[in-house]
């Protein structure tokens, strides 16, 4: 998985955090045909425990190396970052947003994410170059 590869390549210099948000295509919402094929079939969780269970299934399937945090049932982080259904941001060491992709899924941009990550590393470690 592309994001996992990016994280593994740069995790010594960058914090990677996944924020697990509300389901994009629950079976009781806007189901996606690909989920049917992949048997990724979950209703929209209504409790923190239920959301964590689906997140766990996701983690076990993909075995991410980066930490995952669970958005609360007020969908606080998703709301602050307009993150639905998926989104990427790069934040610099001072806490300032340096890059974000467009709205997902069509403008979800792992290439831009990786480039911005590299730019941040170059700014902090100019001796490392490319």
């Amino acid at each position: 998985m592309r994001l996992e590869r990016i994280a593994k390549n740069f995790s010594d210099k960058i914090h990677f955090v996944c924020v697990y948000i509300k389901e994009a295509h629950p079976i009781d919402g806007s189901q996606a045909p690909s989920n049917l094929d992949d048997e990724v079939l979950f209703a929209q969780p209504t409790t923190t425990d239920a959301r964590a269970e689906v997140a766990a299934a996701c983690m076990l399937r993909f075995n991410f190396s980066f930490p995952m945090v669970l958005d609360n049932m007020k969908n606080e982080a998703e709301g602050k970052y307009f993150a639905m259904p998926e989104r990427l941001y790069v934040i610099d060491s001072l806490g300032v947003i340096q890059w974000k992709c467009g709205i997902g899924p069509h403008f979800f941009d792992p290439n831009g994410f990786e480039k911005s990550i590299k730019d941040q590393i170059t700014k902090l470690h100019p001796d490392l170059g490319e």
């Binding site: 990677f16 269970e53 996701c58």
Partner: protein, 89 residues
């Protein structure tokens, strides 16, 4: 960029099959309206140059179990952060 955004979304609307529309319960006009709504709403999202909005959320362990421990975004300052938002479905 605005033209590219519109073109990609128009292509999606034009190229989606009738079968998928039926499966999802969508119409092409409905898709267009949803995209327009989302693009307009997104003008209020945090922009490059903004301080990243803080949050404090529960950490899941490597097997996805709840830990009861919290992680605040602001506690990560000192190193850049790659933030990934998503869900399983």
């Amino acid at each position: 960029m605005t033209v590219e955004l519109i073109e990609i979304l128009e292509n999606r609307i034009n190229n989606i099959s009738d079968e998928e529309l039926k499966f999802r319960g969508w119409t092409r006009d409905g898709m267009r309206a949803r995209y327009e709504h989302r693009l307009n709403a997104d003008k209020n999202s945090p922009q490059p140059g903004d301080i990243a909005p803080d949050f404090s959320l529960e950490i899941l362990n490597q097997t996805g179990a709840r830990t009861g421990e919290m992680l605040s975004l602001s506690s990560l300052r000192g190193k850049p952060v790659g933030l990934i938002f998503g869900s399983y479905t």
